[in-house]
């Protein structure tokens, strides 16, 4: 019977990538993942670009709430509390 690290394909590597990054793989699966990455240039590049995608997404910001809306909310909630 083949060891798991002999069996993992590129598709399986992609399926496991999130659990790998979250440290949710058991030891055997993590070892198979690492061995595949070491021997597969495409998957090495895929892992790096997946991680980069996540880190770039973390940097996204949306603008703050407009001051005028902030003031309006404060007044509205005060009125609601008083009613």
């Amino acid at each position: 019977m083949k060891e798991m690290n002999d069996m993992i394909s590129c598709k399986e590597m992609v399926d496991l990538i999130m659990d790998y990054l979250d440290n949710n793989l058991d030891d055997e699966a993590a070892k198979a993942f690492d061995m595949h990455i070491e021997g597969c240039e495409d998957c090495h590049a895929f892992l790096n670009t997946y991680k980069k995608t996540v880190s770039l997404t973390h940097q996204i910001t949306y603008e703050d709430i407009p001051d005028e809306l902030s003031k309006r909310l404060s007044t509205l909630l005060k009125k609601k509390k008083d009613n």
């Binding site: 394909s9 590049a45 670009t49 709430i65 909310l73």
Partner: protein
């Protein structure tokens, strides 16, 4: 659940005036940003934000002691945003199957994968990269976009996202992974001219 959040929920239930101010100070930006990222238009995001806080105040007694205030507020925000999108008729059902990685019958990558992860900002400014991500986010189906925004932009944990959306942890992980694969592919198209 944080002690301060539990305390704030109790004070809101007691109609403590300062608690309302604290609620706005802690959550108004978070609610507005999440609404804006979902509904896309500022006016709609403002309407949603106002509706969220009015709902929170009028229904605070419905919040159970063991439920996190933040998850409850995120949930109200997501629901209000999705209703707004549907009412506006701007809801888009997009298929993104073609933007997922492709493999041959042996499970190997169908095309060579280029590694653009080293300093992509050298080629494209950070602002431009952010704009690319935001633009592509708009193309994700809503059920994937919400998970992606809550997890990777707002920084909630997988469990928190599951609680906010009332879906299983498995569903969160599956949608998040597909959304990330879609975004990776779109960034690859930008940085490497179409290879994945």
């Amino acid at each position: 659940m944080q002690f301060s959040a539990v305390k704030l929920s109790r004070r809101l239930k007691e109609h403590d005036e300062l608690a309302y101010e604290e609620l706005l100070s802690l959550y108004s930006n978070k609610v507005y940003r999440l609404a804006l990222s979902l509904v896309k238009h500022k006016e709609d995001a403002e309407d949603v934000t106002q509706e969220v806080f009015l709902t929170v105040c009028s229904r605070i007694d419905d919040l159970k002691e063991n439920r996190a205030l933040s998850s409850w507020i995120y949930r109200i925000t997501v629901n209000a945003s999705l209703i707004k999108i549907r009412k506006s008729g701007r809801s888009e059902q997009v298929s993104f199957v073609e933007d997922l990685p492709r493999f041959n019958q042996d499970g190997m990558h169908a095309r060579p994968v280029k590694d653009w992860s080293e300093n992509p900002e050298k080629k494209t400014s950070s602002k431009e990269v952010m704009d690319i991500i935001k633009k592509n986010l708009k193309e994700l189906p809503e059920s994937y976009k919400v998970v992606f925004l809550l997890r990777d932009v707002e920084g909630l944990s997988n469990n928190e996202v599951a609680e906010v959306l009332d879906i299983s942890l498995t569903a969160v992980k599956s949608r998040l992974h597909r959304a990330r694969l879609f975004m990776r592919e779109r960034l690859s198209q930008h940085f490497e001219g179409g290879t994945a």
